[in-house]
């Protein structure tokens, strides 16, 4: 079954009176359980592509079908709800809430999913255990190392059991040893059947994925299984 199907996806920005074409027709199909890396130099459109796939941005052309549902053209509330249920984000800069404990950070998506408090606590704890941070659940981000913060972010991405996990340069702010650890976590998640889309410009990192798409100038340059 296909989780993501894009056809001729285009995104044009207006910058200072000039149109900038970030995506010029990207057609990609991702099946359930795939582990996909998207590479490209800066300006290739990979971040724009991820933002559209993650429903943070809307395309100006083409179509995007997520889990069999056409999502281009939906309103803010529907997009928010789909993002909440179907997408889990992992960012380069972790993007944790500084005042909240690790556990609270992981619970956040479930707050917006209106889960009951007990279930929320239980599943958040489960997700934290899965990334090996059970003993740090009550700590706040400043009390955690970079690698631990990224694990919290991964637990947060997992907690609503999304259709796809989007990771944008997840090792970009980590030293290489910690980066390897984090990539192990992704490998485990992939082995457990999660669909993962990894955005990176580092070939070492992209090598962990089983499929590699290279973008250049807003177009797919190559698409290879590895």
């Amino acid at each position: 079954m296909n989780v993501i199907v894009t056809e001729n996806l285009a995104r044009t920005y207006r910058l200072g009176g000039e149109d900038v074409q970030a995506l010029r027709g990207v057609s990609v199909t991702v099946e359930r359980g795939e582990y996909l890396a998207i590479m490209g130099p800066s300006g290739s459109g990979k971040t724009t592509f991820m933002n559209i796939l993650g429903l943070l941005d809307t395309p100006t052309g083409g179509s995007y079908v997520l889990n069999g549902r056409r999502v281009s053209g939906l309103g803010d509330s529907e997009l928010s709800d789909i993002r909440n249920r179907e997408i889990g984000f992992v960012f380069q800069t972790f993007n944790l809430m500084p005042d909240a404990t690790a556990l609270h950070n992981v619970e956040l998506p479930m707050v917006y999913a209106r889960s009951a408090r007990g279930e929320r606590r239980e599943r958040a704890m489960e997700a934290i255990e899965r990334v090996g941070l059970a003993r740090r659940a009550k700590h706040r981000p400043v009390e955690l190392s970079g690698g631990e913060r990224q694990r919290v972010a991964i637990a947060r991405a997992l907690v609503n059991r999304p259709s796809v996990i989007m990771a944008d340069e997840p090792t970009g702010n980590l030293d290489s040893a910690t980066g390897v650890e984090i990539m192990k976590v992704f490998a485990e998640l992939s082995a457990a059947g999660n669909t993962i889309v990894l955005i990176t410009h580092e070939p070492d990192i992209a090598a962990h994925a089983r499929r590699l798409i290279r973008l250049r100038d807003g177009r797919v340059e190559s698409d290879k299984r590895q």
Binding site: G54, S80, D81, M97, P109, Y112
Partner: protein
């Protein structure tokens, strides 16, 4: 979710106590002022109502003129003729709706016993009907009789404070009190009336009017107090007395009364007008404080939204709708505003309790002033938070996530 927003707001407030105090100063002032002024006015209301009703709720008096509140009013009434003994006799004779008519001559004077003295007290020379006009009973002794009034016997009934001050260690009954150089035998002592707005109501002496006339000659001006047969006849009885006096004084229909009829209701009305003016000023103060408070809160909330742009981005990324973000910041703004209101309430209540405990004034907190105050700060918090919250809700998540702290 709402609980979460309240907790976030409380955490922010706790982390920045001084800033919060400054932010919500307007609210603090507004609610404290509202609670305090209303407590003051209500306290005064209770006291004044008590004082006015102590005069007798079911009686009215005839006086040359009532309380004068302006220069113009004084100009209008200063040439009125005095109220005389003959006026009183006419009322006593002709007023069919009156059950009792009291003639009273007030002549303040110092009072002395053998060893003690009081500088200035109310000396009330009254006709024997006075027993029908006083609310409190005798503590000891007896009242003077109509015969004693008629014959001008020099006896006196003392207010409780006069009795205690002049005769601290002995029974005043049978002793002599000296007023304006004349001697009066004490035959009765009244029970205490207490104080109103810290002013003792027990510094008075009552004498038979006949005795005062015999000792000091005719008064120039006196008061007539009328008790109708039944309380509901008070207006009809007052009309009748007005007619009697107008005829006696030969007033034509177009001419104004040359006397004032004063009932407890008259004083209450007068007083209510005054307290309404105080409330008018209060509305202005509270409105001003709330507007200032609202502007400052709106400003702080805009700052908070900017500071937490990244957080807003995170929340949107994990699935918060615009409505969620809007609600979060509205709740936060209302919580902040309400915190100010509660501080204001605490300050107002504290001052009220202190004033009530340590001054003769009685302050009484009114539930409605607290409810109104808190409702107003909730409203102000909501209005002040509206624009900042809308701005937060409209933020583009991509831009918000890229925002540098």
């Amino acid at each position: 979710m709402i609980l979460e927003a309240v907790l976030i707001a409380l955490r922010t407030i706790r982390a920045n106590k001084l800033r919060t105090m400054l932010t919500v100063l307007g609210n603090i002032i507004a609610v404290a002022a509202l609670v305090l002024v209303v407590a003051f006015v209500q306290g005064m209301n209770n006291e004044i109502t008590r004082a006015i009703l102590a005069r007798g709720a079911d009686t009215f008096s005839v006086e040359r003129f009532g309380p004068v509140r302006s220069e113009e009013e004084y100009e209008r009434v200063k040439n009125r003729p005095p109220v005389t003994i003959e006026d009183a006799d006419a009322v006593r004779r002709d007023a069919t709706l009156a059950s009792h008519v009291l003639t009273q001559w007030n002549l303040p004077a110092p009072a002395r016993s053998q060893r003690h003295s009081l500088a200035q007290i109310a000396v009330e020379a009254r006709s024997a009907e006075y027993v029908h006009f006083i609310g409190e009973p005798l503590a000891s002794g007896r009242h003077f009789t109509e015969a004693e009034d008629r014959r001008g016997v020099a006896v006196a009934v003392l207010g409780s404070e006069v009795a205690e001050t002049l005769f601290p260690s002995e029974s005043p009954l049978g002793r002599i009190v000296r007023l304006r150089g004349k001697h009066f035998e004490v035959i009765g002592v009244m029970t205490p009336r207490g104080a109103i707005v810290g002013h003792s109501q027990d510094k008075y002496v009552m004498l038979p009017l006949g005795a005062a006339l015999a000792e000091w000659g005719r008064p120039w001006d006196l008061d007539i107090v009328v008790k109708p047969r039944r309380p509901e006849l008070i207006d009809a009885s007052a009309d009748e007395v007005r007619a009697i006096l107008r005829v006696r004084r030969g007033l034509r229909p177009t001419q104004e009364d040359t006397f004032d009829l004063l009932a407890a209701a008259t004083f209450l009305k007068m007083y209510r007008e005054t307290s309404r003016a105080v409330y008018g000023a209060l509305v202005g103060l509270v409105a001003l404080a709330l507007v200032v408070g609202g502007i400052v809160i709106a400003n702080v909330m805009l700052m908070v939204v900017t500071q937490r742009t990244r957080e807003i981005g995170i929340r949107k990324a994990v699935g918060a709708r615009r409505g969620h973000i809007l609600a979060q910041f509205l709740v936060e703004s209302v919580t902040l505003s309400l915190a100010g209101g509660l501080i204001g309430f605490a300050i107002g209540a504290g001052i009220t309790a202190l004033v009530d405990a340590f001054t003769p004034l009685t302050f009484a907190i009114e539930a409605w002033s607290v409810q109104l105050g808190l409702a107003l700060v909730v409203l102000v918090g909501g209005l002040a938070g509206l624009y900042p919250a809308a701005r937060a809700a409209r933020l583009d998540p991509i831009v918000a996530l890229r925002h540098e702290r």
